[in-house]
C-alpha cells in the first residue's frame, strides 16, 4: 500500500512539476472568481476615470450610481477622436490597450467588457506564478517542493489580490510585475536557467514598468535600484556589467520621469490631503499645534476634508484662498518640520499605516455585480483565508514592521557576508532583494503619510504586504531547502 502511494506520487511528480501544479491551482481558483458568472471584481471608488478616459473608454449612462456599490461590467469604447489627453502617464496603459485589442477582436468594437481586462491580468499573473514557483523549487520535485508551490498559491492566489484584476485600478499591474521582478532575481540567484540574460532583461523590464505604473511608485526607484546592485555581482559578467549599470540608471531615470510627470493638480491635492488627512489626525485638538507652525489655527477645521469633496464643501480646497493662506505655507519642508516637532503624532500615524498594511482587499468598494443577489458594497469571502488571517493576527504596529525588516536583513546579511568571503553570489543577490523589499516595507508608509496623509492609505501601501509576503516565502523556501546560510548547496545544480 505504502509502495503504491509512493509509486503514484512518483508518477505524479514525473508529469506535474510543482510550478505547473501551482499554476493550475491558481488558474482554477482565480478563474472561478473572475470569470464564472456572476463575476467578481472591484467597484469604482471614483478613480477609474483616470485610467479609462485617456484610453478611450467611458462609462455608459445608467439610471443608478456606478460608484462603490457594485462592480460595473460594461463600458463604452469611444468611437471618435478622444479629446482627453493622457491625464496620467502610466504603464497601466499597456495592459488596458491589450485588453482593448482582445475585446475588439473577440467581443465588440463599441462595448468594453471588464472581463477582458481581467483576462489580460490573469494570463500575465499565471505566468508570474509559474516563474516564481519555478524559481523557488527547481530543480527539485520533492514533497517539500510541492508544499512550497501550495504555499505560493495559498498566499498569492488569495482573492484579495486577484479581485483587483476585474477593475481599472493600477494595483494588479503592480502585483504582477512584482511577481516577475522577484522571480527573475531568485532565478538568477539560484541559477535556475543556464542563460542569465533573459532573466536580467525580465528584471529590468518589469522594474521599469512597475515604477512607471503609478506616480506614487517614483520613490521605489531607489529600492529597486538597490535590488539591481545584486546583479552586478554575478560572475563571468564583466562585459555585461556595463549593461546592468545602464539598466540601473534607466530604473532611476524612470523614477525621476514619473515623478516629474505628476501634474500641478495632483500636487495640490496631495499637499492639501497631507495636511487634512495627516497633520490634523491622531491628535486631540490640532488648532494650537498648526498655529505654532505658522498656519492659521482655523484650518484645523479642515480635518478629514478631501481635496475633491464628494458632495458639499464649506470652502473649496482648490480655491485661491486656501492656496494662498494654507497650501503655500504647508509645503514638503513644513510637513517634515511639523512631524519632527510632533514625533508622537507621527508615530501614531505610522501605526495607522501599519494597521492598513494587511487591508489588501479594499473595504470601501463592493465585489459583486448588480442583480447577483448581494448587498451593495458586499465583500467576497471566497479564498481569502490568508489575507483574513493576516488581517486578524499581523500586529498593526509600525515598530513591529521595522523590527521584522531588521530581522530579515540581519538573517540574510549572514549569507551575504559568507558569500562575499567565498566569492559566491547567491547570498548576495538574495540579500539585495531582501534589502530592497525591506526598504519598501519601512519607507513606503513614511512616504505615504508625508505625501498624502491617510487618504487612500491602504492602496498606497499595496506593495508593502506584497513585499512582506515575498520575503516570507523566500525565508520559508530557504528553510526548506536548507539554504538560509549555507549557499553552497545550490551551486551543485549548475
Amino acid at each position: 500500500m505504502k509502495k503504491f502511494i509512493y509509486n503514484c506520487l512518483n508518477k505524479f511528480s514525473k508529469f506535474v512539476s510543482p510550478a505547473l501544479l501551482a499554476t493550475v491551482l491558481a488558474a482554477i481558483i482565480s478563474g472561478i472568481l473572475l470569470f464564472v458568472p456572476p463575476i467578481h471584481g472591484l467597484a469604482d471608488n471614483g478613480d477609474f476615470y483616470r485610467s479609462i478616459l485617456s484610453n478611450g473608454i467611458y462609462r455608459l449612462p445608467t439610471s443608478y450610481s456606478q460608484y462603490s456599490d457594485f462592480v460595473i461590467t460594461k463600458f463604452g469604447i469611444m468611437q471618435y477622436f478622444n479629446e482627453n489627453n493622457v491625464s496620467v502617464l502610466s504603464s497601466q496603459t499597456i495592459f488596458i490597450q491589450i485588453a482593448l485589442l482582445l475585446n475588439k477582436l473577440f467581443y465588440s468594437r463599441t462595448i468594453f467588457d471588464i472581463r477582458f481586462m481581467g483576462l489580460v491580468y490573469y494570463l500575465f499573473y499565471l505566468g508570474g506564478i509559474y516563474l516564481l514557483t519555478n524559481a523557488f523549487v527547481r530543480p527539485y520535485r520533492k514533497v517539500k517542493s510541492y508544499v512550497m508551490g501550495l504555499l505560493i498559491v495559498f498566499i498569492f492566489a488569495d482573492s484579495a489580490y486577484t479581485l483587483y484584476f476585474n477593475s481599472f485600478f493600477a494595483e494588479p499591474g503592480m502585483f504582477i510585475l512584482m511577481l516577475y521582478l522577484c522571480a527573475s532575481i531568485i532565478s538568477l540567484a539560484r541559477n535556475i536557467y543556464s542563460r542569465r540574460w533573459p532573466m536580467t532583461f525580465l528584471f529590468f523590464i518589469s522594474t521599469i514598468l512597475l515604477i512607471t505604473n503609478k506616480q506614487q511608485n517614483a520613490p521605489l526607484a531607489l529600492s529597486f535600484g538597490v535590488v539591481a546592485i545584486g546583479i552586478m555581482f554575478l560572475p563571468h559578467f564583466r562585459a555585461r556589467r556595463m549593461a546592468t549599470a545602464l539598466g540601473i540608471v534607466l530604473v532611476l531615470m524612470s523614477g525621476v520621469g514619473i515623478y516629474k510627470s505628476i501634474g500641478s493638480e495632483i500636487v495640490g491635492a496631495n499637499t492639501f490631503q497631507t495636511f487634512s488627512h495627516g497633520t490634523l489626525l491622531e491628535t486631540s485638538d490640532p488648532t494650537k499645534k498648526i498655529e505654532r507652525g505658522g498656519v492659521d489655527g482655523q484650518f484645523a477645521l479642515m480635518r478629514n476634508e478631501n481635496y475633491y469633496s464628494k458632495n458639499y464643501a464649506t470652502l473649496d480646497p482648490g480655491s485661491k484662498y486656501v492656496k494662498k493662506h494654507l497650501m503655500d505655507k504647508t509645503g514638503f519642508a513644513w510637513i517634515v518640520r511639523y512631524y519632527a516637532g510632533n514625533l508622537k503624532q507621527f508615530n501614531n500615524l505610522l501605526d495607522v499605516a501599519a494597521k492598513d498594511v494587511t487591508a489588501v482587499q479594499p473595504r470601501a468598494v463592493g465585489n459583486f455585480v448588480r442583480n447577483s443577489g448581494h448587498k451593495p458594497g458586499e465583500q467576497v469571502k471566497y479564498f481569502t483565508v490568508y489575507s483574513s488571517l493576516m488581517g486578524a493576527f499581523f500586529p498593526g504596529k509600525y515598530a513591529f514592521d521595522c523590527l521584522l525588516a531588521i530581522g530579515f536583513i540581519a538573517v540574510y546579511s549572514v549569507g551575504f557576508y559568507l558569500d562575499i568571503k567565498a566569492k559566491r553570489y547567491m547570498g548576495i543577490l538574495r540579500f539585495f532583494l531582501i534589502f530592497g523589499l525591506m526598504t519598501v516595507v519601512v519607507f513606503v508608509p513614511i512616504v505615504s503619510i508625508v505625501g498624502d496623509g491617510d487618504a487612500d492609505l491602504a492602496k498606497h501601501l499595496f506593495l508593502v504586504p506584497v513585499s512582506l509576503n515575498m520575503s516570507l516565502l523566500m525565508f520559508i523556501s530557504d528553510l526548506i531547502n536548507h539554504t538560509l546560510w549555507n549557499t553552497e548547496g545550490d551551486e551543485v545544480s549548475e
Binding site: 488648532t287 492659521d296 482655523q298 484645523a300 458639499y312
Partner: protein, 519 residues
C-alpha cells in the same frame, strides 16, 4: 334676548362672508398673483448671459414674484396661461432670437403683464406697446436717471423707442454721446406692457431695470440697504472680522454677515473661537446669515446629506449661542429643487447672491420659490458711480455686499469704504426685522434684536472681548499631570542606573570568563 340672537346672527354671517372673501383672495394669490414665466432664447455662454438671467431671477424673487424659467426650446404649447401674472421674454442672442412659434402665439394671446427684454421685438409686440422703434448700430450710450449718469459699454446694436404711446411712462433715459445728443426712453411701460432694451447685472442699469420691472408688476417698495459682509468662513482671519464688527459698532452702522459653517470638527478650539467672534457680532447688533456650502457634485439626489448638514450647522451654532436669522446662497440654489428644499426652505429670510463661476445643480427645476423677504445682494462697489445720500432707497430689499478683508491693510481699506458710503443703512433692531428658522429639531426666532430659541428668550453671553485671552492655549491643567511627569523621570533614571550596573557586570563577567582560559 331677541336682540342678542339677531346680533350674533349678523356677526356670524359677516364672519362667514369675510372668511369667504379672504379665502378666495388667498387662492387668487396662490394661483396668479405672484407667478411669472421667464422665457429666454439662449444663455449665450460666450457673453456669459447666464449671469443676467440669474440677476433677473433674483430681483423677481426679491419682489416676491415666483419665477418659472424656461428656455424657448423647452417651451410647451399652453404653458403660458391664466395662472401666470405675467410673462417676460428675454433675448440674449439676437442672431438666434425667438424661434418657438408656439410660445409667440401663446404670448400674443396672453392678457397678463408682458415684458420684453432685448432686441427682436415682433410686430405684435410693437403694436401692443404702441411704439415706433429704430435699430441703432455701433453706439455708446449714457443712461440717465434723476441726477445719475452711467456710461454704458459700447453696443453693437440696440433697439430704441422713437415714438411713445399716449399715457405711457418711462424709467430712465438713454442718450447718445454725439453733438446732437439724441435721447430715448430706457425702461418703457404702457399699461400692462413693458420694454427694456437690455438687462445687465450691475451698476445704475441694474437699479433702473429693477425699478422699472417693479413698477410694471406693481411691486415698488422703499427699502434701505442692508450692509452685508460676505465670504465669511471659518477660515477667515477672525481678528480682522472682530475688528471690523467693532468698527461698525463704534460707527453705529448696523450690519449683517454671510458665513458658512462646518458639520464636523465642531468640538475643536478653532470652532469655539469662530463662534466666539460671531457672538461678539450678535452683541454688536450684527445679524448672521448662514451661507450654503459649495456644491462639489450632484450625487446627493435625495438631499439627505444636505439636510443632515444643515441640521448639524444650526444645532452646533445654536449650542454656542450663534443664531442665524436667515440663509444666504448663490442664486442658483433657488432654481434647484433639492438644494432649495433642504436649505433655503428652513428660513423665511433669504439673501441671494450672484452665481459664482462654479454652478453645480443637483436637481434643477428652474421653479424659484419666494420667502417672506429675500434680499437682493449686489456688491457695494458696483454703485461707486451712482450718487448716494442718506435718503437713498431701493425698490426691492437690497443687500450691499463687501468682501471679507484678510489683512490689516485690507481691513483699513474696507473701513474707509464703509465710511465713505453716505447711506442710511437698514437697521434690523429699529426697523423691526423679524425672522424665523425652523428645522425638525430647532426653532430660532429673531425679533427686534431679541433671539428666541424654541420659544425661549436667549441672553447671549458677552464673550471676552480680549481676543488675545480668548486665543490663549487654555489647556486644562490636570491634578496628576505633574505627578506622572515626575514619575516618568524617576523611572527613566532608575532604568539608566540598572543599565549601567548591567553593563559593568557584563564587563566583569567577560573578564572572569577569559581569565579561565588564560593561564
Amino acid at each position: 334676548m331677541n336682540k342678542g340672537i339677531k346680533f350674533s346672527l349678523v356677526m356670524s354671517l359677516m364672519l362667514i362672508l369675510f372668511s369667504l372673501f379672504n379665502f378666495s383672495r388667498t387662492i387668487n394669490a396662490a394661483t396668479n398673483h405672484n407667478r411669472v414665466l421667464l422665457v429666454y432664447d439662449s444663455q449665450n455662454d460666450v457673453k456669459n448671459d447666464k449671469k443676467n438671467i440669474d440677476a433677473l431671477q433674483r430681483s423677481l424673487t426679491s419682489m416676491d414674484l415666483r419665477v418659472k424659467t424656461v428656455s424657448q426650446a423647452d417651451y410647451k404649447k399652453g404653458t403660458l396661461d391664466k395662472k401666470y401674472l405675467g410673462v417676460i421674454t428675454m433675448i440674449n442672442w439676437r442672431q438666434v432670437g425667438l424661434i418657438n412659434r408656439e410660445f409667440i402665439n401663446d404670448r400674443d394671446k396672453f392678457s397678463g403683464i408682458k415684458l420684453h427684454i432685448g432686441e427682436n421685438l415682433t410686430q405684435t409686440e410693437i403694436n401692443q406697446l404702441g411704439i415706433k422703434v429704430q435699430k441703432v448700430y455701433q453706439q455708446q450710450f449714457i443712461l440717465k436717471k434723476d441726477s445719475n449718469r452711467e456710461q454704458l459699454p459700447f453696443s453693437q446694436s440696440i433697439t430704441v423707442i422713437t415714438q411713445q404711446a399716449n399715457g405711457a411712462s418711462q424709467v430712465g433715459t438713454l442718450s447718445t454721446q454725439q453733438t446732437d445728443q439724441r435721447s430715448y426712453p430706457f425702461g418703457y411701460i404702457n399699461g400692462k406692457q413693458g420694454y427694456l432694451p437690455f438687462f445687465t447685472n450691475k451698476g445704475l442699469s441694474l437699479i433702473v431695470q429693477t425699478q422699472m420691472i417693479a413698477q410694471l408688476f406693481d411691486r415698488v417698495g422703499k427699502f434701505q440697504p442692508l450692509l452685508t459682509i460676505t465670504n465669511v468662513t471659518l477660515y477667515t482671519n477672525l481678528r480682522t472680522l472682530d475688528e471690523l464688527s467693532k468698527f461698525c459698532y463704534k460707527m453705529g452702522i448696523p450690519f449683517a454677515i454671510s458665513t458658512t459653517s462646518v458639520s464636523k470638527n465642531t468640538e475643536m478650539k478653532a470652532f469655539d473661537r469662530f463662534t466666539a467672534v460671531l457672538r461678539n457680532i450678535e452683541n454688536r447688533g450684527g445679524i448672521i446669515f448662514l451661507q450654503t456650502p459649495e456644491v462639489s457634485s450632484g450625487v446627493d439626489t435625495a438631499g439627505q446629506l444636505l439636510n443632515q448638514k444643515f441640521l448639524t450647522y444650526i444645532v452646533s451654532l445654536a449650542r454656542q449661542q450663534v443664531f442665524p436669522v436667515g440663509i444666504s446662497s448663490a442664486g442658483f440654489w433657488n432654481q434647484d429643487k433639492v438644494l432649495r428644499n433642504n436649505s433655503l426652505k428652513y428660513a423665511d429670510h433669504w439673501l441671494l447672491m450672484q452665481d459664482g463661476t462654479k454652478v453645480t445643480y443637483v436637481n434643477q427645476d428652474n421653479d424659484a420659490q419666494i420667502a417672506k423677504q429675500s434680499f437682493f445682494a449686489m456688491p457695494a462697489a458696483s454703485l461707486n458711480d451712482v450718487k448716494k445720500s442718506d435718503s437713498t432707497t431701493f425698490t426691492i430689499p437690497t443687500a450691499l455686499t463687501i468682501n471679507m478683508p484678510y489683512s490689516q491693510k485690507e481691513l483699513e481699506h474696507v473701513e474707509s469704504e464703509i465710511k465713505n458710503l453716505p447711506l442710511n443703512w437698514y437697521n434690523p433692531v429699529e426697523d423691526g426685522f423679524s425672522s424665523e428658522i425652523n428645522t425638525e429639531t430647532t426653532s430660532l426666532k429673531y425679533n427686534h434684536g431679541d433671539y428666541l430659541v424654541n420659544g425661549k428668550l436667549e441672553d447671549i453671553q458677552n464673550t471676552n472681548l480680549d481676543l488675545n485671552k480668548q486665543f490663549s492655549d487654555g489647556k486644562p491643567n490636570s491634578l496628576f499631570k505633574d505627578y506622572f511627569k515626575v514619575q516618568g523621570n524617576i523611572l527613566a533614571v532608575f532604568f539608566v542606573i540598572i543599565m549601567i550596573i548591567l553593563l559593568i557586570f557584563i564587563f566583569i563577567g567577560q573578564k572572569v570568563y577569559w581569565n579561565r582560559f588564560k593561564r
